[in-house]
């Protein structure tokens, strides 16, 4: 294998071996029936349980397939993130185009940003009830403020010459925003969105644990209620793997589609 090919493959190979070693040690602990494996059952144990139940989790009418749980969580997290992304861009535009809007909006941004998304759950349940809107709202609140503040920082980073050149070529202020500022900030805002994905992911899982009856977070709660450690471990595995895949996918989009830097 050439040096370049190895440099590319090394993180995956070494990372894979590292994970395999941990799983092997975990399985050995299970075979040795160490007490810790009662709380942390090894993969062979919890995967066997889930395969046996045909990837259907839960009891009776409240049961759902793994696919349904994944879909429910993804709809919530991506719905909230998409809304937050659009809202952050619109807020950034409004603030950068008008000083009056800046004065009106800025206090709310900086007052509400430090509030953890979990703190909004009781209010959201009262306002929206126990449904998807609540979870989407929690994700939105977890991402929107950070993303908006980041968007404003990105706007300030756009070289002044970009706007000057566009204006000089005849672009109105609105056209300068649409054709210059917007494409200039998109990669940076998308990177912020990606880094905030973890926060959004955690927010939706918490919302599913405390209120909603479906989704990946609800699998963990179901495991707790049924004293089923296998189910808890399976839920954690699915959450980890899904989060990892989404993060890598977002990174790929960022590198391939929004590749430029200003």
């Amino acid at each position: 294998m050439s040096t370049a090919a190895w440099d590319k493959a090394a993180p995956w190979v070494v990372g894979g071996i590292s994970v395999a070693c941990v799983i092997a040690a975990w399985e050995i602990a299970g075979v040795a029936e160490l007490p810790v494996t009662t709380v942390l059952p090894p993969p062979s144990q919890f995967m066997a349980m889930v395969i046996e139940s045909d990837f259907r989790i839960g009891l009776g009418s409240q049961s759902a397939t793994l696919w349904e749980s994944l879909t429910a969580t993804f709809v919530r997290v991506f719905g909230g993130m998409l809304l937050a992304f659009v809202a952050a861009i619109i807020t950034g535009a409004a603030i950068s185009l008008s000083r009056f809007t800046t004065w009106c909006i800025s206090p709310f941004l900086y007052l509400l940003a430090p509030i953890a998304p979990i703190a909004w759950i009781p209010t959201a349940i009262v306002v929206f009830g126990i449904n998807n809107a609540t979870a989407i709202f929690i994700v939105f609140m977890g991402v929107y403020f950070i993303l908006t503040i980041g968007t404003l920082a990105e706007i300030r980073r756009v070289p002044a010459e970009y706007g000057t050149v566009a204006g000089n070529l005849g672009a109105s202020r609105w056209q300068q925003w649409l054709f210059v500022v917007m494409p200039a900030i998109l990669p940076g805002v998308f990177t912020l969105l990606r880094t905030n994905f973890i926060a959004a992911w955690m927010a939706v899982l918490v919302a599913e644990m405390v209120g909603l009856r479906d989704g990946l977070g609800a699998i963990i709660m179901m495991g707790r209620n049924l004293f089923n450690n296998e189910l808890i471990m399976f839920g954690m595995l699915v959450i980890g793997v899904s989060g990892f895949i989404v993060d890598r996918s977002l990174a790929l989009i960022g590198n391939r589609v929004l590749w430029w830097r200003v």
């Binding site: 010459e161 050149v165 070529l169 005849g170 672009a171 056209q175 054709f179 430029w260």
Partner: protein
């Protein structure tokens, strides 16, 4: 806008031009205090001067990007400039190109904002690209271009909108000497073809003489024109000619 009589040959007339910058404890004066000067149309004027002499401020004022005190100003087409206009296009030293657009996209960028844009935009862009020798690089992105290609793209983008005046702020300062000289030839070729007025600020004496039809040296505080030389003719393009060397000596004695 106040209408004032203007010399027929001038593209700009600086009438008691004073520029101050806003500061925390009142206006901060620039070296441009009551400057009077005519810049002639349809030729290349190069402006030289030591750092801080106000030449870049002057160029930005000519573009309408810096507004002078209302005791005077810059007359363009018999009217005081009150801001940037699409007639006068400026090319900066850097950050001219948009990294998310190809060369073709950058060159055609300004046409979308023009009401009188040519009907066949693709053909106009293709013609302009071949005019500046970038036909083969149409699909390249700015980070894939050399410094000279980037500045040629910026020049093409400016010229495709058919401005009356092109302002160049040290556009070739980051280029190596051979590339610089090729760019100088290109500037002459484009000026001959379009007959537009060009004003270029530079630190480089050789560049000022070989590119300019007229060389102005700014200096002093308040700034004044220390040298105003006619640099037309083939002898000024020959760096070993007596005329070129005499002018170079005269300028260097004033600047250094």
């Amino acid at each position: 806008m106040e209408v004032v009589s203007e010399s027929h040959e001038s593209v700009f007339r600086l009438d008691n031009l004073t520029v101050n910058f806003p500061g925390q404890s009142g206006p901060v004066p620039s070296p441009l205090q009551g400057l009077n000067l005519d810049i002639r149309a349809n030729e290349i004027t190069t402006i030289l001067g030591a750092s801080g002499c106000g030449k870049s401020t002057l160029l930005r004022t000519l573009g309408g990007f810096v507004l002078p005190e209302d005791t005077g100003g810059v007359l363009y087409k018999k009217q005081f400039l009150t801001g940037p206009t699409t007639d006068i296009v400026m090319i900066f030293q850097e950050n001219n190109l948009y990294p998310w657009l190809t060369v073709k996209g950058n060159v055609g960028f300004g046409l979308r904002f023009r009401k009188n844009a040519p009907k066949d935009l693709n053909k106009s862009v293709a013609d302009m690209l071949s005019n500046v020798g970038l036909a083969d690089a149409a699909r390249a992105y700015p980070h894939q271009l050399s410094g000279g290609m980037r500045q040629r793209t910026a020049i093409a983008r400016a010229l495709i909108t058919r401005p009356q005046v092109l302002l160049l702020d040290e556009p070739f300062s980051a280029l190596d000497i051979s590339l610089k000289r090729r760019m100088h030839s290109l500037i002459h070729k484009l000026q001959d073809e379009t007959d537009i007025s060009m004003v270029m600020v530079t630190h480089d004496v050789e560049e000022a003489i070989t590119v300019g039809d007229r060389v102005l040296v700014l200096g002093g505080n308040p700034a004044g024109v220390l040298v105003d030389a006619d640099a037309r003719g083939p002898e000024m393009r020959d760096r070993y000619s007596k005329e070129y060397l005499n002018l170079q000596k005269e300028i260097e004695e004033v600047i250094f």
